[in-house]
Symmetry: C2
Subunit: 253 residues, 2 copies
DNA sequence: GACTAAAGTTTCATGGGATGGAAGTTTCTG
DNA sequence: CAGAAACTTCCATCCCATGAAACTTTAGTC
């Protein structure tokens, strides 16, 4: 028995290890050398080398001329057939494009995934302000516009469960008191939209609305704007139209 | 030794099998039952069950209430960090959105991948005509606007290699004669854009231009329009601007 | 609601593929 | 051009994947 297996918490099964390796690729690590992968996963070099080699042969990873590995086109191709891409993103994109053209601001589309807001898509231009959200990225529910909407329309039980965990506070304006958040979420449900002001990033705010289907909130669309451009009435009305249009597109299929 | 391993052409290694299973998900099969997966991969049910179970536990697949498996959000998230998504798509999206708004037509963005045109993104609305191309899908190089561009800017050797294989002919208008294609491609290089007329789909044509970076064609943007709306001059000029804008965006990073 | 065929799940003895330390090779770096 | 770091190959050992068979659940039929 090799010691590494007993001592480290590394996964034992080959497949789990392979998934672990693929999971190394995140927003901060889109290109990794073999050594870096071995370090992150704590796998022996030779084992890592073999698995990475197989993944590369299958097109799941690809090695650049800089000796760094990146996510391969095969994996990307498969992922395009996820319901997330195929139905939601595809249906929403034209509307998001219009929204982007109309407002000139950062436009984001998100769903609830593992207790966080998963950004399915975003449109960012030079005109709009830089943001942390990115397609494929996760952010907390209580500090983002789309997140608050997604949370507000969950069952009371799910909301309480979310509130019962320690909540990150990325800025001083972030609301992390359960009671304050409960009130905030009730407001969201009443108004049909959420607002955040510097709760995730200093200097910017956001507005988001739900995309409803069969009485359930399946996704949220939002815009992120500079604080002094936060024209609530105008944006809410534009967003509500967009959400209705996306919902109609979804039902059309 | 179990007979299946020797007799069938099924992959032997676990990881290859897992990749095989994930590869079952394509444009025609975005949701599959366990039995279907076992049929396609020709794997024994029990083996298939175990691997699929592990993939599901890792979030690479997800089981719906209809007992069908779909590509999971974890896999999708990882794929978003492919250079294809992270750099190209992200940089191009605002420009594609503008292009879509301006023309109201089907807009597509593609790269060369394994001898085919890989559609990185597309924007389709109700106004535009239905197409076969879809994000994550592959189509031949010689029958599509973006494909011709991608092929035209390859090395002569690569072009000859492409022409040496049997070329599919989806419509009577498809050009499959090597000589005719060579002339066509020379024309593309001379003009800086490609045109197709009913070479992939009856009734529609397309125009595409290259996105150049460091003297190399890294991608192609195109529009697909109804034949009688094929206003070449106007579309070429709009597309050329868009390509330049995307190239600038790519260099900006 | 009983009956049944199909789909899905669990079990378990077996041996072949995965394992990882060590040695060898290539590629950076100063 | 050393020396180190990164990468690749090797191979004896043995653990874990394997898949047939038995079992359970689900869906469809009368």
């Amino acid at each position: 028995m090799s010691p590494a297996r007993v001592e480290s918490g590394a996964p034992t099964a080959l497949l789990e290890r392979a998934m672990e390796i693929l999971s190394c690729f995140d927003p901060k690590h889109s290109a990794l050398t073999l050594t870096q992968i071995a370090e992150i996963t704590k796998l022996p070099m030779s084992t890592c080398h073999r698995i990475v080699g197989t993944l590369e042969a299958g097109g799941f990873l690809s090695k650049g001329s800089d000796r760094k590995f990146r996510v391969g086109t095969k994996l990307w191709t498969i992922a395009q057939h996820a319901p997330l891409s195929e139905r939601l993103r595809e249906s929403a994109l034209p509307t998001l494009a219009r929204l982007y053209e109309e407002t000139g601001e950062n436009v984001t589309l998100a769903v609830l995934d593992r207790g966080q807001a998963l950004y399915v898509d975003r449109l960012v231009g030079e005109r709009s302000i830089p943001t942390i959200s990115r397609a494929g990225g996760h952010l907390p529910l209580h500090t983002t516009g789309v997140g608050k909407v997604l949370l507000a329309y969950q069952s009371e039980k799910a909301i309480e469960q979310y509130l019962s965990q320690p909540l990150p506070k990325p800025t001083p304006q972030s609301i992390t008191q359960p009671d304050a958040l409960r009130k905030d979420l009730a407001e969201v449900r009443k108004n049909g939209y959420s607002i955040t002001r510097q709760e995730m990033t200093r200097g910017s705010g956001s507005i988001a609305v739900p995309i409803m289907r069969n009485g359930k909130c399946v996704a949220a669309v939002g815009v992120i704007v500079h604080l002094n451009r936060l024209d609530v009435n105008r944006l809410v009305s534009t967003l509500t139209d967009a959400a209705a249009s996306i919902a109609a597109e979804l039902d059309g299929h």
